[in-house]
Symmetry: C2
Subunit: 317 residues, 2 copies
């Protein structure tokens, strides 16, 4: 089968055997999405080697759970060891021995087929299209914020970053608070947020020194976003770190102590609330799709996805 792989520092379209990890399901990928993490991996993040990709929707062809065969599914990307305290408590997302689809120790979704444990797969409701379902993983990551931080309707929220992740987070959190702004640098993307009834402002138009936000979400993936978050958060407020970026970041630890700010690292979320939001139409994701590429044009797709201001680029195996 065809697979888009990152190996020995180079990205290539390869011909590989259909994967058949013992005891796991085999999923034929229908559609996959390129995430900033995939781009970071090609710059060395996570030291990953193998088939890229972790956002997908597909159809189960083989599974130890025969009821899954033929079903359209999405899949939780963390596969735990199954035996540790975290896995037993239902949180394999943080298992220390986990593998992660297309990120750590496990080939990913930019391929015709992938493997995942049957327990990781969730059926997609018929009312959710492939082009919507492929957003389940990043949308779940946006919902994870609500699982970690209590947000009330009068809380003042700022989301920094008008890219793919920031757009999803703003749409999700706007359902929890009516005092939310998205802060970005790209007018067309600010416009896109406004079309989804999200208040959006250009970073250049922010007033200096307005430490007025109860919760600030950093989703720009840039160190300057973290600096801005520290300027915007109120004393005793919360900064949610949502982007993974390579290397060390600088924080003003004294300001965090003096103002008793809380920083919350936030990564993957559970899929169920995301699928529900897609099925109910609560979050409209299709305007975030920039373009579809055939998997065999995957390298060109990755290059386009890396260009500034790009939204979601999809791959069709």
């Amino acid at each position: 089968m065809k697979a888009l792989r990152f190996e020995s520092g180079s990205l290539k379209l390869a011909e590989t055997p259909v994967p058949r990890l013992p005891g796991e399901a085999l999923v034929r990928v229908a559609l996959a999405g390129i995430c900033s993490t995939d781009l970071h991996i090609t710059r060395g993040y996570a030291a990953f080697s193998g088939t890229l990709g972790h956002e997908f929707v597909g159809v189960v062809e083989e599974s130890p759970d025969t009821s899954q065969i033929g079903r359209r599914v999405v899949g939780e990307i963390n596969a735990g060891c199954g035996n540790c305290d975290l896995c037993r408590s239902g949180d394999s997302r943080h298992c220390l021995r986990r593998t992660v689809l297309g990120i750590h120790g496990r080939d990913g979704a930019f391929a015709e087929y992938l493997n995942l444990p049957a327990v990781n797969l969730l059926p997609v409701p018929d009312t959710v299209s492939d082009r919507q379902a492929v957003f389940t993983e990043p949308l779940a990551a946006a919902f994870e914020i609500l699982a970690q931080v209590e947000i009330g309707p009068s809380d003042r929220i700022a989301v920094i970053g008008d890219g793919k992740l920031g757009q999803l987070i703003a749409r999700v959190l706007a359902g929890a608070s009516s005092h939310l702004i998205l802060i970005g640098k790209h007018d067309p993307k600010l416009q896109l947020a406004r079309a989804a009834a999200v208040e959006a402002v250009h970073v250049a138009s922010l007033e200096a020194g307005t430490a007025a936000f109860d919760v600030v979400v950093e989703a720009s993936g840039s160190p300057s976003g973290l600096t801005l978050a520290q300027q915007l958060v109120r004393p005793r407020g919360t900064i949610v770190l949502k982007s993974t970026f390579h290397g060390q970041s600088e924080i003003d630890a004294s300001a965090i102590v003096v103002n008793e700010v809380t920083l919350v690292g936030s990564r993957c979320g559970r899929f169920a609330p995301a699928l529900e939001a897609l099925a109910s139409g609560k979050v409209d994701v299709e305007p975030l799709i920039e373009r579809e590429y055939a998997l065999e044009d995957g390298i060109a797709a990755m290059i386009e996805a890396a260009s500034p201001g790009m939204l979601k680029v999809l791959l069709v195996p």
Copy 2:
């Protein structure tokens, strides 16, 4: 009166008028404590100019609240504007226009007299000696952690730093969890913690890669303490930042995101729980006193307080 002042980059013992801020109480200082923050200020932290010192016990000589006159008191160090939302909600500790005793915009306690608003003063129970009461402010800062982070009896806690603040924090949190260790570099201070029934280990004897702690408190005041905290905290665990240090600190933001770690900045606490702990004998602070100096030997006292491994140095006006 005599006052130990930091002005134009130099520390000096000065003769100054008795302070008489309109509408505030006048306290004759009986005993004051030197805190690491005082030492940091002499290196440029907080850009403070004036009389140093914020840990004290004294006797009220004048006050708009006449019931306070003649009472032995300690004092909350943050004086809010009284009019903003934070002050009105009872949290003048984070008022954006606040002054802070000996730290920001207000002369401090290394003097024969100080001013504070009457509302900041709390009477000291007769059973609490001056040498105990002078620890109220740093002990309240230790109790603040319990006001911010939920700690249960089975939670695994690590306190990094065997100095004054780490010693107090370990004693306070050991009352909340029976799985606490203090991590330090100075054998005599580890021994001091053990004498207070706190398990204490040398940093060199830690096993590498034990990301096993639910809560890690950074109280070493050193950037390497923050690095160690990130190594010790479990996935989804909490790091409490307790030391203020000058300049930027490096964090591994990706690891914080991937492991969904929470960082909590923690500063001043309310005085009541600290006074109760002193009165009940729950926390024994006197073994932490290294030496008393007369205020007129304040410069020598500051130099001694700055030497490595030093515990609490007191000043007697």
